[in-house]
């Protein structure tokens, strides 16, 4: 035993050695990168990228707050000096101060799987949900669940136009009869009003400068429908529609530049753009990433941020392109970078 003990101690020392790094915490405007992490691994966190200095800080939440963020971070929403971080498989929303990232409070919605959040006033926010057909209404000042709004299917992104919130309804693979949709919610009484359904699955929803809603729709082989872009007004009337020229295009990660004039979406590895007034999507550039997992556009300057999840079990690589598609910089973030959030102050 005397001989084995030093060996065990040595092994323990070897296994526990790692370098401590002094984090470079964000003090300015920049880009927050939402690293989902792997389902069940509990390795979700947030990275911060400073576009001016081109520096990155990883593991921001754990570094500042001393505990892990949780399991599968879906999205982050910034409202003034507060950020809401939705941690899907941990059934919680962490509220933190921006830019210090210090925790304000944890909002737990028992039995939920929160996806996206949209504050509708200074205390109330809507939260979409993966596991059930409802949108949670929470009071984020108290952390309490106020109500649930029943909707036909599970929902993802939210946008607000005047007195309504529009939710992106998702198709469920295990339910062939489900469809992509837009659901209209009236804020005044937290009520589901009506819906617009489509054959293909929804791939993102944004609002343009005219207060119209744009939705990207995937192709649907059952109805032989090509992928499309659809524009609706706030009463869910069709304003415009563009069908893709061929099958095989799967538009997703729909986003819009800061002026609300140019739409962008990802299809395969190509980044398309089109003006809302002249719908002619063309390839702006093609990504060299091996597994493009996510994309967004900085509304301030039109820079693109694309994540390459590589093998999905290692740190993602992030590509930053300018608005013409020229690569400016690339850097490493966390595991499965799935969303971006931008600050401008």
């Amino acid at each position: 035993m005397n001989r084995i003990t030093p060996l065990l101690i040595l092994l323990a020392c070897i296994s526990s050695c790692h370098k401590d790094k002094t984090p470079d915490l964000p003090k300015s405007k920049g880009v927050y990168i939402i690293n989902e992490g792997n389902f069940g691994f509990g390795n979700a966190d947030v990275s911060f990228y400073n576009p001016e200095t081109k520096t990155t800080t990883n593991d921001l939440f754990k570094t500042v707050n001393g505990y892990s963020l949780g399991d599968v971070e879906q999205s982050m929403y910034i409202k003034d000096s507060v950020a809401f971080i939705l941690v899907n498989n941990s059934a919680k929303i962490e509220m933190v101060k921006i830019p210090s990232f210090q925790k304000i409070r944890t909002i737990t919605i028992s039995g939920s799987s929160p996806r996206y959040i949209l504050p509708v006033d200074d205390s109330i926010a809507y939260v979409t949900e993966l596991y059930s057909n409802k949108i949670h209404v929470i009071n984020y000042q108290t952390g309490n669940l106020k109500a649930d709004i029943s909707v036909p299917q599970y929902t993802e992104h939210l946008v607000r136009v005047d007195e309504y919130v529009f939710a992106e309804g998702k198709k469920i693979y295990s339910n062939p009869s489900s469809e992509g949709a837009v659901y209209r919610i009236r804020i005044a009484d937290n009520t589901f009003v009506d819906k617009k359904e489509f054959a293909g699955d929804a791939g993102g929803i944004v609002q343009d400068k005219n207060k119209n809603i744009w939705i990207a729709l995937d192709e649907d082989s059952a109805t032989n429908t090509k992928a499309s872009l659809v524009c609706l007004d706030k009463n869910l009337n069709m304003v415009a529609q563009y069908s893709m020229s061929s099958f095989g295009l799967h538009p997703n990660h729909l986003c819009i530049e800061g002026n609300g004039e140019i739409l962008f979406f990802l299809a395969n590895k190509n980044i398309y753009n089109t003006s809302i007034s002249n719908l002619q999507p063309t390839i702006l550039f093609t990504s060299t990433a091996s597994n493009v997992y996510s994309m967004d556009v900085d509304p301030a300057n039109g820079d693109f941020y694309l994540s390459d999840a590589l093998d999905y079990v290692q740190s993602s690589h992030i590509y930053r392109h300018d608005k013409t598609g020229t690569l400016i910089h690339s850097f490493t973030a966390g595991v499965i970078s799935g969303n971006f959030a931008f600050t401008h102050e």
Partner: protein, 622 residues
Amino acid sequence: MKTVTTFLFLICLLTAQAERKDTVMLDEVVKIEKLSSNNFQSPFTEMKYQNGKRLSDVLGEFSSVYVKNYGVGQLSSIAVRGTSASQTEVQWNGIKLNSPSLGQCDLSLFTLGMQQDLQLVRTGYRGTIGGTLQMNNVLKIDSGISANLSLRAGSFKTFEGIGSVQYARKNISGTSSFSYLSAENNFQFQNIFKEGHPYQTQTNAVVRQLSFLQQLGGKINSHNELNFNLWLTEADRQIPPIMSKDAASESQYDYSLRSMLNWKAKYKLLKLSFTSAYIQDKLRYKNTEALIDETSLMQAFRNAFTTTYSFPFNLVLNAELNYDLERANVRAYGEAKSRNIFGMKFYTDYYLTNGLKFHFGFREDIVGKKPSVFAPELAINFSKRTKDAKHSFSSAVIASRNFRFPTLNDLYWVPGGNSDLKNERAWNGELNFKYANQKYFDISLNGFCLYVDDWIQWIPQGNIWMPVNYKRVLSRGFEASLHATNDKHNPKRFAIHFNASYTFTKTTNLDAANEFDQSAGMQLIYVPLHRVVAGVQLQYRKFYLRSVNSFVSRVFTSTDNVQFLKGYFLTDLEAGKDFTIDKYEIGMSFRVNNLANASYQNVAQHAMPGRNFEGTLRFKFD
């Protein structure tokens, strides 16, 4: 079905031969590690002290093999030499138990003691890429009536019991075994995923398991023998929340029926054996949060016909034909899926009088209409013993080609199932040495290397996850073990036993997807580089005090080796006494598990218990 029966009958007529189990000589070459048995070997691997526990909980104590464990009573699997759980085959009396849909076995559903013999083949063996865990039932002939009972109570309202009655008279023998296990698992743990790292109590972790095994065997005449086995297991388990979640409402119900009929015949130098087994696994998963309540049914009808002929000039030929029908009814497949597997194995052993032995053979399978790679196996073994039998030495070099077909989930899961998948292919190599001083100690060293191509991995492709032949993996390392005592054969009034084994496993991915992919050359996730088990037992007459210590080095949880789970030490301490009164053997023991109250995770976010206690009572009537 009629066609299948006719085919099997034809095989019987054509091949007419022997004894599937009688591969003792081959076993010597491929270094089967006898993990545990009811025959005395070493106090650390004597099964009677641990009977009634889950196999997954004790494997890591018997050997330095790594057990991946999702929590107490939850999904557990072994990975040998850096391979995956689905590359490791679990066999019951030589019949494969791996699920046709998942490809792996949950070792937490097996209770130690239901089988009398437990062995691990670490190297590629008869076509298997990873190791082979063998659980064997052995019937005693004409040994009268005997009975065993083990009862255990422990922390967290844990109750375990296993009882068996063996009866053997003249040409008929049988064993009836029953086991029960229940646990609340409401242990305290430190939650590092919560602010301030508070201590909290585990929830939704109640487990209840039952199993029953009936063996019946008999000699029909001086040449023929017939054996029947029926094994039923049932488990009702709550699935606790991951550490970053407050609560969970998941549960899983497993029910397995395994039946087996075996015929053996021996005619001078010829041995024949035919085994036909039906394995059924039913799994019901419920998640009230996600509104999921799904039941899956997996069935396998496995058949093996073996013949062995021993020539008078030290040559042994062994041939085996297999036919398996696998079927799974899983909701995500859309409809029930099945496949036929035909297999052929041929091995030969040649013994020279100077201690040299040559082994050569091959395996070839056909799954559906796809043939496997041709899988040869070659081994040379040398063993020598001094004239006074005080010292013995053996060494072997082994090389083999192995493969694994995709599982039914890999092929048919909707969405994502990929019918174009190729089978995984591997080259395994091993060099081993063993020296034994018959009185005081034995020591063994194994060096190994294996290369796997077309490793199957599920990765996202657009919006869905899909299995693809993703990468090439190289695994290499060595294993060392030492057993020592103050006298093996003449136990003194005071005895001391020492046992240690160490495994070094370097398993790396060989390919990078692009210049930013940092996984090339890095250790695979959940493969510890170091694993050590060391124990010491002090014994005075029939009192004993035993300490078992294990160490698992950190395991990486990201393929770029940036994220990891910390390594951990565990120490267990056990004190006990055995009594013998006439024909009765009684044992009592008290054990402290995780003496140092270590806080650790074996799998990310799955809490493990701290210090806990158990008391055991054993009865044996012979």
